[in-house]
Amino acid sequence: MTEARSIVDAAGIEALLEALRGQGYSLIGPTVRDEAIVYDEIATLNDLPRGVGDEQEGGHYRLTRRNDEALFGYVVGPQSWKKLLHPPMLRLWSARREGDELRVEAEPEAREKFAFIGARSCELHAIAIQDRVFLGGPYVDPHYRARREDVFVVAVNCGVAGGACFCVSMDTGPKATFGFDLALTEIVAGRSFLVEAGTEAGSALVETLPHRAATKAEIEEAEAILARTAENMGRSLEAGDVRQLLARNLEHPRWDEVASRCLACTNCTMVCPTCFCASVEDTSDLAGLESARSRRWDSCFTLDFSYMHGGSVRQSVKSRYRQWMTHKLSTWRDQFGTSGCVGCGRCIVWCPVGIDITEEARAIRESDGQKGAT
């Protein structure tokens, strides 16, 4: 593996996409659709959002026009790579009655090989978190594994910080440190990219692209860009002891206050790159000959989610919001050994009423130990 950093230009990026496609990868990357940057199939460099920036705040997202031709001059959008590794809807099996026999067919595992173009550091952390959930325990999810094992990751180190970003607080960015085959830093907008290989496969691929060795000045420039990004985080969260803070404040009055604003609409959990919950649904046809079981994303904000015989355990929105936030920042550590939050800020931006997890944590910290009316 070459330790040296290389420089490629836009033609080099185009060659990279071409080479990956030649190796049989489906290219998934950022592209503009419906006035947002989504992750979708891309064919060429022209599908990337050139010269596009974004403005992100609580409950607010707008694309902006940058005054340069940057290819990666924005941060994360409404979607994450979760939609490819843990699809929103997935049939698990189907069954058919034939005479006296019942034939059950398991859904075949996906064969598609994905190349993720432009994954950010916080997202690599999120994928690592979902890896622990789906692959780390005694019960491996075969569908996730099939989709995950061949992924080729081209990471992008963030040249800008978003209005809701707080990866620095969560120690998850803005520079990708693992989980990539190649990592790019855009050092001259749209023209010059510093490339770092993270795997042998990445390293071998760079050798096939038009590239040259990076100069010391270019490496320093990349570091300066990332340092600037780190200094400009839109949000911050004191993460060091937040696990204990929330654990000792389960009756804090702030939970009632946030419940008065929370819509229980599930948006935060849907856009969260680590939220993994799914519900299983059975269907049957009119003739009673065919049935199927499928799973789809579900959320701890729905009543059905905590339904056990006799009713739902988390009736109040307060208990649901508390469940979600304490899981992300506190009990996730008990369960999986890491934080469940990577500081991407999506839950803040895509909450229709702009509820801000960093603000909620701060509010509880500022009146640590207060008890609610009950």
Binding site: E35, P88, C262, L263, T302, P352, V353
Partner: protein
């Protein structure tokens, strides 16, 4: 499998536009299977047959707006083993429940040449206000996929998969970009019951709330947001007061924005 008697289906109409029961005829791909699985015993949109005996499954469209209908629904209930209401009229009173916020005699005097011929109630109310309802299918109109799901689940003796969460969840499953957050378009999705497949937001429109309130709606919080997007008190009152105006959460919220 032993030969068994196909369950008898009846489709009843009360105050409504027929759109929901027509969804049944609109199930073109499933119509043959439907006719095989069920004995369609009473369905005036499709066949004229007398009311006779009892029915295993009654689909009821429409709301109760006349003294006669208030009696007739009791008869329908007596004749039905399972009674499922379909559509916003039957589950929430429909658009005609706007009368509940006004004086129906005044309306009648404006609309009819001889208002004294009109025997109508002062209110339009959902079926569940009058008789026990086994299942309510939402929507204005209902989604035909959901209707097939309800009938299939009835035949299989299982619970229908018609979740009561918000429309937002359906938008996210489809990969829609949120029209409210990304475009500033007012949208009732966060307080509205799923079922339509997030139809309007999929075409860049805000949700109109056709499926009525979701399981735990927080309309006051959403209204604060809608106000920042430019909706005044009048607009807020009207946005909740449409096909599901009488549904409790929407009614309360529209009344909060009354003068």
């Amino acid at each position: 499998m032993a030969e068994r008697h196909a369950p008898r289906l009846a489709v009843w109409k009360f105050a409504s536009c027929d759109g929901c029961q027509l969804s049944l005829l609109d199930c073109e791909d499933e119509l043959l299977a439907l006719a095989q699985a069920l004995d369609i015993a009473y369905f005036l949109e499709a066949t004229r047959a007398p009311i006779r005996g009892t029915y295993d499954l009654s689909l009821v469209e429409g709301s109760i707006t006349t003294p006669h209908d208030a009696e007739r629904i009791q008869e329908v209930r007596r004749r039905s083993r399972a009674l499922v209401t379909i559509g916003a009229c039957a589950t929430a009173g429909g658009i005609q429940a706007l009368r509940n916020f006004a004086d129906v005699r005044e309306y009648a005097s404006i609309v009819y040449a001889r208002p004294d011929y009109i025997h109508t109630l002062a209110t339009s109310t959902p079926i569940a206000d009058h008789v026990k309802v086994d299942f309510e299918l939402r929507g204005c109109p209902i989604d035909k996929g959901q209707l097939i799901e309800v009938i299939s689940s009835f035949l299989a003796g299982r619970k229908p998969a018609t979740p009561a969460h918000s429309v937002c969840l359906q938008c996210k499953l489809k990969g829609n970009v949120c029209v409210m957050v990304a475009h500033g378009t007012p949208c009732l999705g966060p307080v509205t019951h799923a079922g339509c497949g997030a139809l309007c937001p999929s075409y860049d429109r805000g949700c109109y709330g056709c499926f009525g309130p979701m399981e735990t709606p927080n309309a006051p919080s959403l209204s604060l947001r809608l106000a920042t997007l430019g909706m005044d008190e009048d607009a807020l009152r009207r946005v909740y007061r449409t096909f599901n105006a009488q549904a409790e959460a929407f009614r309360e919220e529209s009344e909060r924005h009354d003068d």
